[in-house]
């Protein structure tokens, strides 16, 4: 019986061994490709990079609406303001906001308040940008997978969220932190003062949007601006990389290789080449390419290139210019834009300040483009540009801001607030008939969202306005 007992023991031990080794044998499901946790600096890197890219993604959609760009093909859906499903842009906006939510949670746990602050400012920017193009969107039930069908919040509520994020962000950045931001920040390389200035600049941007609403107070805008950027060197931007070239540069490169992209609208060319306004703008030749004959010829929106060949007869983005070099920055917020916000905010309260800010806005943009001093002086000396504070109108601000924010997403917000009243701007040829001859006021919700969260998606038309787009 001893033997049997021993055999029993051996068998028992053996079985336990088999069972436990089976457990460890099967314990191989940890993801070898994707980590379960990511450091806040990794989230900072991607969030700054993708925020800049989002600015580009939205700008690439809206540049056709504000007629910076025009398709070389007739009836192109962007030009003609048709409902297009911008699923990728939607996804990217939410992807960054998800990462920022995680970054806020993690940094708060670590006491890394500067990371929290930066995340809040970037959150405000992405959220505000999404509201500006889509209107009401999900937010309060988002990012944390509480429900698979999050409800939609109204655009008004979300705007107050944006302002809260900016205020909290500035506050967090002004305080102490356990971890300092460094090279993981593609925008400011960890310069906290610039982050604070950026937060204030964005406060001004989102406040000026609401000028037509009862929320608006010009003095609050001006107060924010006092703590915002002080020169072009404060600009919020991400310079691109040899490894990942600037997307506008890529468009120019594609176009050079006959993969047509980045054709310039006739509206834009004629505003700068002396057709719509008396002066030839010295910036034109630094922003877009000329034809083989050395001329600047635009393409009418919606009409296509007509008989023009694919190359050499129309102005397009060309590689190597300020906006289109391989390592050119994608601009998120500039000193120039800030000056035009100041001009608009001060217009009613201090017109002299407004006029000076307007001129400074032009100068700041020209300095960015490195316009030769003589040409800059000549342009600024023109009575059509420096008309004097008395003759100075809101139209002048919008016109010059439109030029200074070339390719930028913010221009469509301005265009809608300005009711598209740019000189000589008309609806594109082959306009989407559903718009009844009017300009587009928002984007439609993407198909992916309608498919996956259909019950919550509000029913809107492209003519329904965002709350701040009051008239």
């Amino acid at each position: 019986m001893k033997i049997i007992n021993r055999i029993g023991k051996v068998l028992g031990v053996g079985l336990v061994f088999i069972a436990s080794s089976c457990d460890s044998y099967l314990d191989v499901n940890e993801n070898p490709n994707n980590p379960e946790d990511a450091p806040i600096s990794g989230l900072m890197i991607n969030s700054t990079y993708e925020t800049a890219y989002n600015q580009y993604r939205v700008g690439d959609i809206t540049s056709y609406y504000v007629q910076y760009l025009a398709s070389p093909n007739p009836g192109s859906s962007g030009d003609t303001m048709e409902p297009v499903s911008h699923g990728t842009t939607w996804f990217r906006l939410y992807n960054v906001m998800t990462d920022l939510t995680i970054m806020m949670d993690k940094s708060e746990e670590l006491g890394a308040s500067h990371y929290t602050g930066a995340a809040q400012i970037l959150m405000a920017l992405n959220l505000g940008m999404a509201v500006d193009i889509f209107g009401g969107i999900p937010f309060s039930e988002s990012f944390r997978f509480e429900t698979v069908t999050p409800k939609y919040d109204s655009d008004v509520e979300l705007y107050s969220k944006v302002m809260d994020f900016l205020n909290q962000g500035i506050q967090n950045l002004q305080g102490a932190t356990t971890v300092s931001i460094g090279d993981d920040d593609f925008i400011f390389k960890g310069d906290v003062d610039k982050w604070i200035a950026f937060g204030n600049m964005l406060k001004a941007r989102f406040m000026i949007h609401q000028k037509a609403t009862s929320n608006y107070n010009a003095n609050e805008v001006l107060a924010a601006l006092d703590n915002a950027f002080s020169s072009n060197s404060d600009n919020a931007q991400v310079s691109f990389f040899e490894q990942s070239i600037n997307p506008w540069s890529n468009a120019a490169r594609n176009n050079a290789n006959l993969l047509l992209d980045g054709w310039i609208s006739e509206q834009f060319i004629e505003a700068l080449d002396g057709t719509s306004y008396p002066d030839v703008d010295p910036r034109l030749k630094l922003m877009v390419g000329a034809t083989n004959d050395g001329e600047f010829v635009g393409t009418p929106n919606g009409a296509g290139r007509g008989n023009a060949p694919e190359q050499g007869a129309r102005s397009t983005l060309i590689q190597g210019q300020y906006y289109t070099s391989v390592t050119s920055p994608l601009l998120i917020a500039t000193y120039s834009e800030q000056k035009f916000i100041e001009a608009e905010a001060a217009f009613e309260v201090d017109k002299a300040r407004a006029y000076q800010a307007y001129l400074d806005g032009i100068i700041a943009h020209m300095e960015m483009l490195e316009v030769p001093q003589a040409e800059m002086d000549a342009y600024l000396a023109s009575p059509a540009v420096s008309m004097g504070a008395a003759a100075f109108t809101m139209d002048d601000i919008f016109k010059e801001k439109w030029v200074a924010l070339f390719l930028h997403a913010e221009s469509w917000n301005d265009a809608r607030r300005f009711n598209y009243q740019y000189k000589d701007m008309t609806v594109p040829a082959n306009l989407n008939p559903e718009l009844g001859g009017k300009f587009i006021r928002r984007l439609s919700y993407p198909d992916s969202e309608i498919s996956r969260n259909g019950k919550n998606v509000p029913s809107v038309t492209l003519l329904d306005r965002i709350f701040w787009d009051a008239n």
Binding site: N33, V148, N257
Partner: protein, 1023 residues
């Protein structure tokens, strides 16, 4: 003490004497010796086969039962007595129901004993199809099995689905498990990450000439023993083995040619330009002036017939050599095969070289082992076929498409990209080295106990190189890409399977026979994929990553392990009642630890009533069967929980960013469960001249593990969870008969038809639909395949004509209602996404005729599918570009049939052309572009077909001639494949589809590689 005694008894048992040698001759009724008859000592693994003269010798002791079996003959059992010589005469089995089917773990079972439907096809039925891909060789041959060739590219994948799609997961592999000699192998298709290239399903690495038979196990009952991996059924492949006797050498050599089997109807009247105006540099290939008119002034201007000129005559050669033989103790089989093919799209190639060696050794009556190793090397240049066809769309019909290159090597073009130039220089080559091996050991210490162990491995490396050149730096050139790029992909996959089982057999009395098998099965797959991509070449034409300005790398790996414990009890009563009970418990590494162990049982019953009850003479055989089975299913490795990803753009400036992965795997995921039941009858009449097999089945897959697409706003885009149920039910009929049976002329027919009905029973709360796939169409006519609750799998959604009096809530296009015509006189469009059709065929089937007259054999195999629609993206493009025949109607006036918004008939006459009509109205881009191309309904239509899948005629030289040659057999044959007999489809072969074998988005032709028809000549020589 009692226990010690038992151990001793056991040991004594092991060393029981071997017994004497029994010898004898096996002949048929006419006295002709039968070579190759299998003789087994029942209850042991001792076995042998008769030699060329029917002689055998086997070690057996008195009281042992020898079982003699031979295909087409009635099996016989003889109990060994005192006689040392046992001669046996075997009778022809008119029933042919002694058919042996290889089932789970390579166990041969009499079909009679099975309680579920199973079908097997033999080497002849495989090779006569002339298919290089084993999957394609099954086409039309097995009821309930749908095979679809994804296109006509050399080596392009073929998809197999048994009894409908069982998963709501758009990414699920709905194909069965492939098992070679008892060892599961990989049959995945890894498509290119960029433009479709038509890659190969890995089962095509096996040379069909090495295959002895294939059995298809359809229901869960048939596959419960393979566990989770066979939830969609199993294809059990048995390869050829050596036979005792003389060494046999077989040489098989064939050459084939192929060409396009069908073209859409195209117009040849109008040429390059737009609005009816000629423009030799226009992007628009066919909206210009009449070609005949321009030809008057422009020399050489003519319709070039590019659509015929763009495709070559493909060619293939296939050579196989096999040597086999064996003695009393050992057998071997060795083979070499080489296959090479050039496809109909220029520069498309694929080839395969295989070598196989297998052998078996019988050490003693208690112990034997066998092993085999199969090496293959395959691959080719995969042309960007989808882009090729797209560029054919854009290409001017008055410019010769084959005149594509300038002397300096740049593209010759008037503006658009030349498809032939792209096919030549945008290369994608794969090179797969694969080794499949197995080792089997059987040890039978007593006549009621056998221990078996089988270990198998399937290893392959797939090395891929993609090159798209950048600009050469020559003035005025039009490059294929602004930068050019090079991508190197390395895939390594390693499967190891280990299976140990114990078989206990006991015959309780003459009436009761039982076999119990219990075992353990372990599976592991390790998979690695590394991609290195370089963009923007510094030196044009030098293709090395070191020569690129931007380099990206990515890596992905996975490991999956499964451990299964199983039991299988078979009980038979009086050889007419058979009961089989199985149970299996799987443990999977891919599921959460708390839910990773799951058990599932199966029961099946076969009742051969013709052996029990008295039936009339003409009633030869009758059997009823019933089964109920469950099978569990795990998920993919590494999907649980939330993770972070580093996007491929990093590192940038030495920084690596991270972002939330958009997929989230439910941490409480549980295994999915498929429950299926099956009832069937197998009947034979008139001495088996006519036989019929009918099966009804129903299967419900519940708790489906699906990556549910969720709103991006949740923080994820897909949520992997248990979320839904899908049901398949259907009927299968197999009808066979010997129409003529005579000394010279024989005609055998077998036909199969099956119908499948599928329904999505439920999807998780809050999820309205699951998008399986979609394909673009011009002007909003994109077609999407979506799953919604209560409807069938495979519904295609798109835009349609606005209809008068329709139900505003209808989810289907109400095509019987009149079309609404707008005030402008043109049909109006309904932009709501409605169901236009379903892409899963309701009916599939095949018909095989085998005729022989003296030395001639004729094999005719036809198959069909019906009751399905498909989106013809070609047609959409052709209509947008004014290339198909109907768009030639563009200078006519027409009053569209339909009613106005108020229901009154339309009377307005409109012009169909572009620009200004002869009566002075501006029609813009014209009817075809403004209206027709934007309505998906126009392009989703019946894709049924009847095909002559293969026809072959062979001549066997008879012995009189052979005696004067060194050959023992000689056969020559001619064959043809894939000839479309009937299809309402207007376009290329309706069988081709874009998703490839691995994808579920069937129903989209894309701009895929067109189907081909082929012709072969084959020589088969035996020495």
């Amino acid at each position: 003490m009692k226990n010690t005694f038992l151990v001793c008894a056991f040991l004594l048992f092991l060393f029981k004497s071997y017994g004497q040698d029994i010898t004898g001759v096996v002949t048929d009724v006419s006295g002709t010796p039968l070579p190759g008859v299998t003789i087994l000592v029942e209850g042991t693994i001792t076995g042998t086969t008769t030699d060329f003269d029917g002689n055998y010798a086997i070690a057996a002791s008195s009281g042992n039962v020898l079982r003699f079996s031979f295909l087409g003959m009635k099996s016989q059992s003889v109990t060994v007595g005192t006689a040392k010589v046992i001669n046996v005469t075997m009778e022809e089995d008119s029933e042919q129901l002694g058919e042996v089917i290889v089932t789970a773990f390579g166990i041969s079972q009499e079909k009679k004993a099975l309680g579920y439907a199973a079908q097997s096809i033999d080497a002849e039925a495989i090779t006569s199809t002339k298919q290089t891909n084993l999957v394609s060789a099954l086409q039309g041959q097995v009821a309930g099995v749908q095979i679809t060739n994804s296109g006509g590219a050399p080596g392009q994948s073929a998809r197999i689905v048994i009894r409908g799609i069982n998963s709501l997961d758009p990414q699920a592999d709905n194909q069965p498990l492939f098992v070679v000699d008892g060892v599961p192998i990989d049959n995945s298709t890894v498509e290119s990450s960029g433009t479709p290239r038509g890659l190969t399903n890995r089962a095509a690495d096996i040379n069909p000439a090495d295959v002895e038979s294939m059995s298809i196990l359809k229901g869960a009952a048939a596959t419960a023993l393979y566990g989770v991996r066979a939830a969609n059924g199993a294809v059990i492949i048995t390869t050829k083995k050596g036979q005792k006797g003389q060494i046999r050498v077989n040489l098989n050599s064939s050459i084939g040619f192929e060409d396009l089997n069908r073209l859409p109807k195209l117009q040849d009247q109008f040429g390059q330009g737009f609005s009816g105006e000629y423009d030799p540099t226009s992007f628009w290939p066919s909206w210009g002036a009449p070609i005949s008119e321009i030809a008057k002034t422009v020399p050489g201007h003519k319709y070039q017939d590019n659509w015929n000129r763009a495709f070559d005559t493909g060619m293939q050669t296939d050579n196989s050599l096999s040597i086999s033989g064996g003695g009393d103790k050992a057998t071997f089989y060795g083979s070499f095969g080489n296959f090479d093919q050039e496809g109909i799209i220029p520069f498309s190639t694929w080839g395969r070289t295989t070598a196989k060696l297998s052998g078996s050794v019988t050490m003693s009556e208690k112990f034997n082992f066998s092993a085999s190793v199969n090496y293959s090397n395959s691959g080719g240049n995969r042309v960007p076929h989808d882009r090729y066809m797209e560029r054919m769309m854009y290409w001017s019909e008055t410019t010769d498409v084959r005149d594509y290159i300038n002397p300096d090597g740049t593209m010759k073009t008037y503006g658009n990209t030349n498809p032939v130039y792209d096919a030549r220089f945008s290369t994608y080559e794969d090179d797969v080295n694969r080794m499949i091996g197995n080792l089997n050991l059987n040890y039978a210490p007593t006549d009621w106990l056998m221990l078996s162990y089988r270990v198998g491995t399937d290893f392959f490396s797939d090395s891929r190189t993609e090159v798209t050149p950048g600009p050469k730096g020559i003035d005025g050139e039009q490059a294929l890409s602004s930068t050019g790029y090079l991508e190197e992909t390395r895939i390594n996959s390693m499967d190891i399977t280990s299976n140990f089982y114990i078989t206990l057999s006991k015959k309780f009395s003459d009436d009761w026979d039982t076999t119990l098998r219990i075992g353990n099965d372990i599976f592991e797959r390790k998979y690695d994929r590394t991609t290195l991509r370089g963009e923007d070449f510094v030196i044009p034409g030098f293709y090395n990553v070191n020569n690129t300005k931007q380099v990206f790398a990515s890596q992905g790996s996975s490991i999956r392990r499964l451990v299964g414990f199983y039991g299988d009890l078979m009980v038979s009563y009086k050889n007419y009642l058979y009961l089989n009970i199985t149970g299996r418990n799987d443990l999977s590494s891919t599921l959460p630890k708390d839910n990773n162990s799951f058990f599932y049982p199966s029961f099946n019953l076969g009742y051969v009533f013709s052996d029990h009850l008295t039936t009339p003479d003409w009633f030869t055989f009758g059997k009823l069967r019933a089964s109920w089975a469950q099978v569990g299913k795990d998920t993919n490795p590494h999907v649980l929980g939330a993770t972070f990803v580093s996007p491929s753009v990093y590192p940038l400036d030495g920084q690596v960013g991270f972002s939330r992965n958009d997929a989230f795997g439910d941490p409480a995921l549980k295994p999915e469960l498929t429950t299926s039941m099956e009832f069937g009858a197998q009947l034979a009449f008139f001495e088996n001249r006519l036989n019929l097999d009918v099966t009804y089945y129903k299967s419900n897959a519940e708790d489906q593990i699906i990556p549910v697409p969720v709103s991006d706003v949740t923080g994820f885009s897909s949520y992997i969870t248990n979320a839904g149920e899908i049901e398949n039910k259907g009927l299968e009929f197999v009808l066979g008969g010997d129409v003529v049976k005579g000394p010279d002329f024989n005609w055998k027919v077998s036909a199969n038809v099956s119908i499948n009905d599928n329904k999505v029973k439920s999807i998780r709360e809050g999820i309205d639909e699951i998008v399986v796939g979609s394909q673009s169409g011009y002007d909003g006519s994109r077609v999407t395949m979506k799953l919604i609750e209560g409807e069938a799998y495979g519904n295609l959604y798109g835009t349609s004509y606005a209809r008068y009096g329709g139900d505003p809530n209808s989810i289907f296009v109400e095509s019987e209602l009149p079309i609404i015509i707008g005030e402008d006189g043109f049909p109006k469009r309904n932009l709501n996404q409605l169901i236009i059709g379903n892409a899963v065929p309701k009916w599939i089937g095949g018909l095989r005729n085998e005729l022989s007259y003296k030395n001639f054999d004729l094999n005719v195999m036809m198959d069909f599918r019906a009751g399905m629609k498909q989106y013809n993206q070609f047609d959409n493009f052709l209509s947008a570009f004014g290339k198909n025949e109907y768009t030639a109607v563009r200078n006519d006036y027409k009053v569209f049939d339909g009613v106005l918004e108020d229901g009154t008939p339309n009377t307005k006459e409109v012009w169909l052309g572009q620009g200004e009509s002869p009566d002075g109205k501006d029609y813009g881009a014209g009817f075809w572009r403004n209206t027709y191309r934007g309505i998906s309904e126009n392009f989703v239509y019946d894709a049924s077909y009847i095909k002559l899948r293969s026809v072959s005629l062979a001549y066997n030289f008879n012995d009189k001639i052979l005696d004067r040659t060194p050959f023992s057999s000689l056969r020559i044959s001619v064959a043809a494949n894939n000839i479309i007999l009937y299809s309402p489809w207007d376009g290329f072969d309706p069988e081709s589809f874009s998703a490839g074998a691995g994808g579920n988005a069937i129903g989209f032709t894309g701009l895929g590689f067109p189907g081909t028809q082929s012709y072969f000549m084959t020589l088969n020589v035996g020495f």
